[in-house]
């Protein structure tokens, strides 16, 4: 039983699915900044006689998300109509899923180590977005506007609604949950997860456990456009409800809006009319049936989940949690670091280099790792050289910059910056060795007269040769050639 007064939070998250076209018509989903009412057609304008036809990619992406959450994907599901009047809803109903959603159950793991916790998922379903209202008032607010303008560009954009069980206990946990979910959808490439742009919208249900241990009255909070806003809104709302209860007042069941500027939630002043959405099965859409093998195929093409990778990076490679978190932010990045390690780089060295150098370049160029010009098999030799002491970190950075700028391999870049071109071998290596042996004649003598049983002097000579070669020689070849010179 929960402690009386402890917060109970459930989150409903609408995630915009990253497709080219809308959920039920071929209009573009790229509405941001578009001229109003340009990405429209008879279907998403609710023209009489028009009919919806579902976008298959939305189903693929939603199934992948459901699988990542460990949810049960329904073989045959259906759509319902949710009926209500509002000008941004052109048919006066939203096509959504009701009693048979695409997926049910599953969980999202949040936190690390001691704080690790699984937040159970209730359901994941598909629905269409509404259009956008622009209010005429100078402050852009509804209450002060003489009239409003409607833009249907966003209407019909595909959404996944992901509903959690009310098992989130603190605002910080709620924040962590949303951050993890956002990372997941980005990781899967099914959404850009941008809260500010509205492609990930969070509604929170908050109540405080009553003295009897039962759930208190639920308040829904909307309009939180960042993780920070979410946490602040929940903090505020929990305090507000606790205050009401302390004063012996009751919490009203209502929807409240978060006002980020003033740092408070406020109820809609008007009368809360009882909702009656009159849900009923959408007669224009037959059952959504996943073909045999469809779910399995989606599972096969999914990347390893970021939280599993993260754990692996920590336990197998000994990386710090922070390093692991950064490297598993996107599947491209984790694939890159794995490739580097497979090519021979030390994991910690690769992690450091990617976090600092690679991400710096990506940020500067505003590109993703997919468009990064230095493939893992080119970076890896550079990292190996640093580890072997063949290259100083400073020199390596210069080499790296050349690799990035000109798309070169490590060796090509080394050659270009005037370091002995390529590997020193043969004649050029012998010349270097001769020079060193001349300078270090005493050491040579000692070795030749057998006064170096532990090979210390020999090692010293090798080091001198490598330094003279600016690291551009193969240590084994150096050792062999040196032996030939020394005759032993």
């Amino acid at each position: 039983m929960r402690q009386p007064g402890s917060p109970v939070i459930g989150l409903e998250i609408h995630v915009q699915v990253a497709t080219e076209s809308k959920l039920f018509c071929a209009c573009s989903t790229d509405y941001i900044g578009a001229v109003p009412n340009t990405h429209v057609c008879p279907v998403c304008l609710g023209q009489p006689g028009s009919l919806p036809v579902i976008n298959g990619r939305v189903v693929e992406y939603a199934v992948r998300t459901a699988l990542a959450l460990g949810a049960r994907v329904g073989k045959s599901t259906r759509f319902h109509r949710k009926n209500y009047f509002y000008p941004d809803l052109p048919k006066a109903y939203q096509i959504s899923q009701y009693d048979r959603p695409l997926a049910e159950g599953g969980a999202l793991p949040i936190g690390e180590g001691e704080n690790r916790k699984e937040i159970p998922i209730t359901r994941l379903h598909l629905e269409e977005d509404a259009g956008k209202l622009v209010h005429s008032a100078a402050d852009g607010r509804l209450g002060h506007s003489e009239y409003s303008l409607v833009d249907y560009n966003r209407g019909g954009v595909p959404l996944m609604e992901i509903v959690s069980e009310p098992e989130i206990s603190t605002p910080a946990e709620a924040r962590e949950y949303v951050a993890t979910l956002r990372q997941l959808v980005r990781y899967l490439g099914v959404s850009d997860g941008d809260m500010e742009k509205g492609s990930l919208r969070v509604d929170a249900n908050v109540s405080l456990t009553g003295a009897d241990g039962k759930l208190g009255t639920k308040v829904e909070i909307k309009n939180m456009n960042s993780l920070r806003a979410l946490e602040r809104a929940l903090d505020y709302e929990i305090a507000r409800q606790a205050d009401l209860i302390r004063k012996g007042e009751s919490v009203r069941q209502e929807t409240r809006h978060w006002d980020d500027g003033n740092g408070l939630t406020c109820g809609t002043r008007g009368k809360e009319e009882a909702h009656d959405y009159r849900y009923f099965p959408e007669p224009d859409l037959p059952a959504l049936v996943l073909p045999d093998g469809f779910v399995e195929k989606q599972r096969d093409i999914m990347p390893e989940m970021p939280w599993i990778l993260k754990e692996r990076f920590v336990t197998d490679w000994g990386l710090s949690l922070q390093d692991a978190a950064v490297l598993t932010e996107l599947p491209g990045l984790s694939r890159y670091v794995e490739d580097c390690v497979r090519e021979g780089a030390d994991p910690q060295r690769a992690a450091n280099w990617i976090r600092t150098e690679v991400l710096r370049v990506l940020n500067e160029k505003r590109i993703g790792i997919e468009d990064f010009g230095v493939p893992a098999e080119n970076l890896s030799p550079l990292l190996v050289k640093i580890d072997r002491g063949e290259l100083s970190t400073t020199l390596a950075k210069t080499v790296f910059d050349r690799m990035v700028a000109e798309g070169l391999t490590a060796l090509e870049a080394l050659e270009k910056i005037g370091a002995p071109s390529g590997r020193l071998t043969g004649e050029r290596l012998r010349n270097v060795i001769e020079r060193v042996l001349e300078k270090e004649s005493s050491a040579v003598e000692e070795i030749k007269s057998g006064k170096d049983p532990k090979g210390k002097k020999r090692g010293f000579l090798c080091g001198q040769i490598m330094r003279e070669a600016r690291g551009q020689a193969d240590p084994e070849e150096v050792a062999k050639t040196l032996s030939r010179f020394l005759g032993c």
Binding site: P48, G49, F85, F280, L285
Partner: protein, 488 residues
Amino acid sequence: MNRLQMSAADLARAVKNREVSAAENVQASIARIEEVEGRVHALLTPLFDRALEKAAQIDQKVGKGEDPGPLAGVPVIVKDNLCMRGLKTTCGSRMLENWRPPYDASTVRFMEEAGAVILGKANMDEFAMGSSTENSAFFPTLNPWDLDRVPGGSSGGSAASVACGYAPLALGSDTGGSIRQPAAFCGVYGLKPTYGLISRYGLVAFASSLDQVGPFSRSVEDLALVLNVLAKPDPADATSSRRERPDFMTFLGKENLKGLRVGVVSEFEAYPVQPEIKEAMERVQNILREAGARFSCVNLPTTIEAGLPCYYIIAPAEASSNLARYDGVRYGLSVEARNLGDLYMKTRGRGFGAEVKRRILTGTYVLSSGYYDAYYLVALKARTKISREFKEAFQDVDMLLMPTTPTLPFRQGENVEDPIQMYLGDVFTLPVNLASLPGLSLNAGYSKTGLPVGIQLVGPQWGEGTLLAAAEAVERVLGKPACAFGGV
């Protein structure tokens, strides 16, 4: 032969063989309309200029030796709930009095691609709700055989047009009998196809799970001809079947009906119908028996008991949602209002007629919380049961023979004040929609007072071919339906 008596098939052949031009066909139809329309009032919007242009294009095609299509130069009337781009599509409602859809219905496109020339938009009961065309917001259409009587509905304008010889073909829509009943009342053929055979894209929805577009004609061959044009899978309609369609012409020209098993429904036999309809039933039964068909009785107890209430829950429920989009924001009527709520109430209060309001309220009621389970859900279950009952009956028979209506065409105003009485007239037609079956109404003679008597053939899903073959056998004996007003 009088051109107005010619079938679409004959007209198209004549155009293709350059015996007659499309322009001449259209001119003859226009002359006929101008002669009769003042008495019948079948058309809401004549499209004569456009039709003459289209006819000229067909003639050019023929002149150039191009294939002008299977309906080359055939005049056609289209019910006013099928969208035609840039042309008024009123649905018989004040709500859409001046609406010009920005797109074409798929069926309109199919017809025009096949060379048909659309002459005008036909009157109808508002939003296809009604059985008499008295619910048109503009004017009632009169029965060509007795101007004191109704032509049936809701496709009364289409049926009357074909009966008067405006055109050999017309399109209507049938949700609970709206093609078959007016076909019976006007003495022509009317076919309601299997649900999913013909695209609904661009048909302004009344009840989406029941609506089907279908043809009127004065010859069985024309039904087959136009089915070949209309019955295509349409990717714009998710309920349009993807199965391959037969060549419907191949069902014609059968020498006899040997092996055809025809059922009569015991419960329908016991139902009180007017004696002249009973006589017509016997007449058709004898003809089919002569042609080689074998008769047996089948039972449809649930259908007769529950069909009507089931229909009058499901159809209004869907309609209440489909008609919610008429809110004065994007198209159609919009009444000056102080605020949004006011706009909705006033626009919808003024735009809809009494019958539409009645059905919207009924539909809203049966879907509202507290009543959904008691009414809507029960009706859905009853629908399943009715479908199953038909399916079982079609194990034993290939086709059912039943009256189209329990009465002959009634007088104008006779049922206006008693909606239930009006609904009872659909008792034989609406179960066919509930079970997604094809139904064909044929003219089986006339009453002593000269009123047409319709008889209905009902097949299993995709059984249109059987219905065509049987109708043709009757046509061979009784002749093709006559034109009203002597056809001259």
